[in-house]
């Protein structure tokens, strides 16, 4: 299963992931990942037309009405997720990443759950919006992880190689040496149809990967409707989602009220999951275009 990844698309250091006991690789359905085209022969022009159901006007009704997130795999790259939390449900998988002596990524089954609460909150928000999506956890917080942007990078590399449809990254790193590698990974995700939804920093500092144009970057607004989101015509933050006083799941089966871009991000990730469950063929560019066209300040209601 894993071998199919290496020839599909170029991902930086594709052979650097080592699987350890108890972790099953879930390669994404090949149907969603058509082969890359490098040129366009005349006879192929008809084949690249937009899907016939693409409407003249993209509305929220077309984009996700009736969708539940079913069939879409969402990855929560965070502090772990409290599996079985009433607001989260069961997980597709839960892993944690570390680096061995040769700097290879080692993926192990995560038995510790959520070490902070934050990942559970994000998973719960995605679940609330897209109740039937599949949620997986990649934990990048843990003993000895602090100050090591390499774990964050390793976690994202794993998530990209796993081919998740949506990757929720409610965190970033300020470490510049990792920016180039993160940029490559964000582009790899973009080209292999993994929608990377990343939190903008809450403070005016340079951090990554939310600043890259291949991701969907999210800041907060203060409205209460989870489906209210705005397109920002003054990037680098591209969208604003609900991020203030959000009731969210927390460790121990509890709930808290949380604020920050961290919580705006899974709102957009959840909406992406809905869109992709109704329109599985869309590329990240098209998903972002749909988000733009259905934003509350563009063509969307709510």
């Amino acid at each position: 299963m894993r071998a199919s990844l290496s020839h599909r698309y170029l991902i930086p250091e594709p052979s650097s992931i080592r699987q350890v006991d108890g972790v099953t690789a879930h390669a994404a359905p090949e149907a969603r990942k058509p082969l890359q085209a490098w040129s366009l022969p005349k006879e192929a022009v008809g084949g690249i037309a937009l899907p016939s159901q693409w409407p003249e006007q993209v509305t929220r009704e077309w984009a996700w009405e009736g969708a539940t997130g079913k069939g879409v795999r969402v990855c929560i790259l965070d502090s772990g997720v409290d599996a079985g939390h009433p607001l989260v449900g069961e997980l597709e998988s839960a892993v944690t990443v570390s680096l061995d002596d040769d700097e290879k990524i080692v993926v192990t089954e995560d038995t510790e759950g959520d070490l902070a609460g934050h990942g559970t909150a994000c998973a719960g928000i995605v679940r609330a919006l897209a109740p039937e999506c599949s949620i997986a956890s990649v934990r990048v917080l843990g003993k000895g992880f602090t100050g090591s942007g390499s774990i964050l990078l390793a976690g994202l590399r794993y998530a990209v190689q796993e081919g998740f449809d949506v990757i929720n990254m409610s965190l970033s790193t300020t470490k510049k040496p990792f920016a180039a590698a993160l940029h490559d990974l964000a582009d790899s995700a973009y080209f292999q149809r993994s929608v990377l939804v990343a939190s903008a920093h809450n403070m005016p500092v340079e951090s990554y990967p939310w600043r890259f144009s291949s991701v969907i970057s999210v800041g907060s607004h203060e409205e209460e409707d989870p489906f209210t989101f705005f397109y920002n015509p003054s990037p680098p933050v591209e969208f604003f989602g609900r991020g203030v006083r959000v009731r969210a799941a927390w460790v121990g089966g509890k709930s808290v009220t949380a604020s920050g871009n961290s919580f705006a991000t899974p709102h957009l990730a959840g909406i992406c999951a809905l869109i992709l469950s109704k329109h599985p063929d869309l590329t990240p560019f098209q998903v972002k275009s749909v988000l733009y066209l259905t934003a509350s300040n563009v063509g969307g209601e709510g």
Partner: protein, 214 residues
């Protein structure tokens, strides 16, 4: 005296005792943060890379007596998440959760019902975490407060950076206990004297220097 030792003595005058001043500055920052947000407590935690722990470096309000100097592993909890991800976090209405804010709860038995935490960023590194505990229950959190929290965190990060530099310099001087630390100590003491006594001290020093063949 060589240029190098000149420099060491000069540095020592600035360094010895400055750690205390910077710690006072941290104390002032958490005091103002608590006051501005109308919170019950505020604290600054520093990251100790050697032990992968967070240490309470300044505390005001609830837990003030117990928490200062207390350590806990940096790999978990809200402060741990903020430190690792360089991202602020605001959590409210959590009193029902016994696992919440275990860093504070374990030390004091005081479980806050809400917490704001922001990383202390110095260029690419997170030096620690600023926490503000229990804002007034009737107040509604807004994005403006998030900005304010960030401003305080930036100020605290500068103070922490200075404190860490002073400590590094102190350690360096300590490493030469038999030689320059004594000189540095003397220089620091003379600098702290009142005018008359300082003049007397300087005279003694000149005589000592002459005796030593300077």
């Amino acid at each position: 005296m060589t240029n190098e030792s000149d420099l060491r003595a000069a540095v020592a005058v600035g360094v010895i005792g400055s750690g205390d001043a910077y710690r006072e500055l941290l104390g002032a920052i958490v005091e103002v943060a608590r006051s501005i947000f109308g919170a019950k407590a505020s604290s600054i935690l520093l990251y100790d890379e050697d032990t992968d722990e967070l240490v309470f470096e300044a505390v005001v309000g609830e837990g003030e007596g117990e928490l200062l100097g207390m350590r806990f592993p940096a790999g978990h909890g809200i402060a741990g998440w903020v430190l690792a991800t360089h991202t602020p976090l605001i959590i409210e209405d959590v009193r029902e959760d016994p696992r919440f804010a275990t860093d504070v709860a374990e030390g004091t038995g005081y479980v806050p019902s809400g917490l704001m935490a922001a990383p202390l960023l110095n260029e690419e590194r997170a030096l620690g975490v600023l926490e503000v505990l229990d804002r007034p229950e009737q107040s509604v959190f807004s994005l403006a407060e998030m900005d304010l929290l960030g401003l305080f965190a930036n100020q605290a990060a500068i103070a922490v950076d200075l404190l860490l530099r002073a400590r590094r310099a102190e350690r360096l001087l300590d490493g030469r206990e038999d030689e320059l630390a004594g000189v540095a100590d003397l220089a620091s003491k003379i600098a702290a004297l009142e005018d008359d006594r300082r003049e007397a001290g300087l005279r003694l020093l000149r005589e000592l220097t002459a005796t030593l063949g300077g």
